[in-house]
Symmetry: none
Subunit: 203 residues, 4 copies
Amino acid sequence: MEAAAARKRDKRRQILDAAVTVFADRGFHKSRVSDVARAAEVADGTIYLYFKSKDDILISIFEEAMQEMIDGAQAAIAEVDDPLERLRAFALFHMDNVEQERGVAKVLQVELRLSNTFMKEYKPAALVAYLNIVGAAIADGQARGLVRPEVNPIIARRAFFGALDEIAMQWILTPNARYGLRESAEQIADLFVRGLRAASSQN
Amino acid sequence: MEAAAARKRDKRRQILDAAVTVFADRGFHKSRVSDVARAAEVADGTIYLYFKSKDDILISIFEEAMQEMIDGAQAAIAEVDDPLERLRAFALFHMDNVEQERGVAKVLQVELRLSNTFMKEYKPAALVAYLNIVGAAIADGQARGLVRPEVNPIIARRAFFGALDEIAMQWILTPNARYGLRESAEQIADLFVRGLRAASSQN
Amino acid sequence: MEAAAARKRDKRRQILDAAVTVFADRGFHKSRVSDVARAAEVADGTIYLYFKSKDDILISIFEEAMQEMIDGAQAAIAEVDDPLERLRAFALFHMDNVEQERGVAKVLQVELRLSNTFMKEYKPAALVAYLNIVGAAIADGQARGLVRPEVNPIIARRAFFGALDEIAMQWILTPNARYGLRESAEQIADLFVRGLRAASSQN
Amino acid sequence: MEAAAARKRDKRRQILDAAVTVFADRGFHKSRVSDVARAAEVADGTIYLYFKSKDDILISIFEEAMQEMIDGAQAAIAEVDDPLERLRAFALFHMDNVEQERGVAKVLQVELRLSNTFMKEYKPAALVAYLNIVGAAIADGQARGLVRPEVNPIIARRAFFGALDEIAMQWILTPNARYGLRESAEQIADLFVRGLRAASSQN
DNA sequence: AATGAATGAGGTTTCATTCAT
DNA sequence: GATGAATGAAACCTCATTCAT
């Protein structure tokens, strides 16, 4: 039955969307499963037909969001040839995504970390894949002589992500920030592009 | 009574030290107040003679640690004249501190964020003071013409902190990291020093 | 429709047989209706076309099993003239039945009692009928002067059943009992035959 | 502190007594921990200062009751020389105990069995000790030539207990039984004494 | 008749906090 | 000041049962 599968996907999405709203609003820990159920307009028990546990909802939000972000980031940098300009494109994509999916971003950045179980035991392979888009650009830049050879891409990619993430978290937590996310993305991109660039490649 | 006040400070410290160990070990949420009490060798109720609540212990750890870090960072950069080299000194100090006070660092970086109550309602003024050491150096650099004038110090200081923080968190969560914290500090300092420097100031 | 009625009986039996297996395996309380449904290869809802509730399945197992046991016991003693020897025949039949229908016996003896609702509210008339086979033999023995007149058949029949039942339960719960059920049946029969017999009837 | 230990024992007993009443009344499964707490006039959480779990309460009732029964039964038969008369003393003691501690008896006989976990995994060593009082008397009788040598004491002791237990359960479940427990005890004792006695020992 | 997705009530246990001693 | 026994609120998840298809 085609329709049954579609209905099943719909209900799963219904619950996930409701969960994002509820978790972003009250925080994961303070949200009760029944809050999510009410927001999704299903019975409490229905949640458990689609998810193994409350934690599983959070993990599912993370995995789906990360997959979208990985796909989106890859698309965003696909047509940019200069490796360093790819970092700028990545930064702008990341911040746009945070701005447009504020609820999801909030859950990812604020609520997800609450579970150190999650951060520790469930190794977020997807996060590494996301980081690796940055790392690959840096390594590519080194191969082309555009990036200083002494840069450690493993460190640099995480530093870049950390810079973006910290700014994003601040923006999420503070309703009225003094600076826009796009401006921040540009500033961070500038800092890293200049910081990574090999002296010989400067004009 | 001088002695009584000293004794009181001692017990308070006893509890705080025990709490750092316990929270770093099991995580804040999974730690029970009675765990802290046992580790501090006091009765459960005694905790409440020194702290308003379990959260208050966490906040106190944060505030005391931040004050030490602020003092330490200021001392570390005090004799460095070049504003950009102050960033390097700050980065090295920060990472050394994380390495030496791993327990405290873990509580601050991993456990503190779990309480979005904390991050939202209790505005961490101390964190801003810490960040401001970086911001002041950047602003100073701009005043001296060493840092590009278009850099927004508010953004840059947080980006710098985010980069350090992300690396530090990674190091805390993974026992066997592939790179040392000092190396990371140097790399991040290099990136930001080069990224911030005004073209005219290059030699 | 003859065939429809037969099919209906078949499915009912299918479900009952599956329920005996499942209940004997996991216990009544730990068994889910969906477990029974899966074992019977029907949908969950189908169960409720044949049984009012989960309890009703248990009661039905009991009633059908008791009816078979009543019929079997009556057949087993039918050709035994001596009332006291009928007790021996009854004991042997009972234990053989337990041995051959271990699953059913387990459900009856172990799982049935878990519901004091059952034991209290639903008066098991069938059990009384089964007990009465014993009681009738004792009363007959008294009428013929073979059994002591001061024996209260109501008490004696239940004592006899209790003795058999306790041994059977032990055997069911312990996979490797030190004595066989037939040996136990003989021993219990001996005890009661001698215990009931009127002094004047001894040779 | 002597008083503290005494108070602790008192509260434990308070809870156990309340639990017996509640479990006997509503059954173990239908009883909520909060029902027991209310009956014991303590808070729900207090229960868990004295017992590991709801099951642990049941097990504790069993163990304490069995210990009392073992002690009581041993005292009851202590001064009876004739092994067979010890069985009568045992039967009378058992039934008197059931009658006087109806609540406890009900919990033991009806509610305990609901947990086949209990009957299976937690091997009731105490029950065996209780049964062994009967078994020892029978074996003693055989040694003295008073009991038929072909009797298997392991089977006979359990048969004797089963007979008593079945009658007791019936009496517990039916408020208005047609026969008294003492009468039943006498009848069962008569049956077994005569059933066990060696022919040569009859006078 | 048969299905199986959806329902929603229900209860044990933990643990931060209090307060009589 | 110090104790620690007592409190009691709070929520996840299971599973018997229903009913639209």
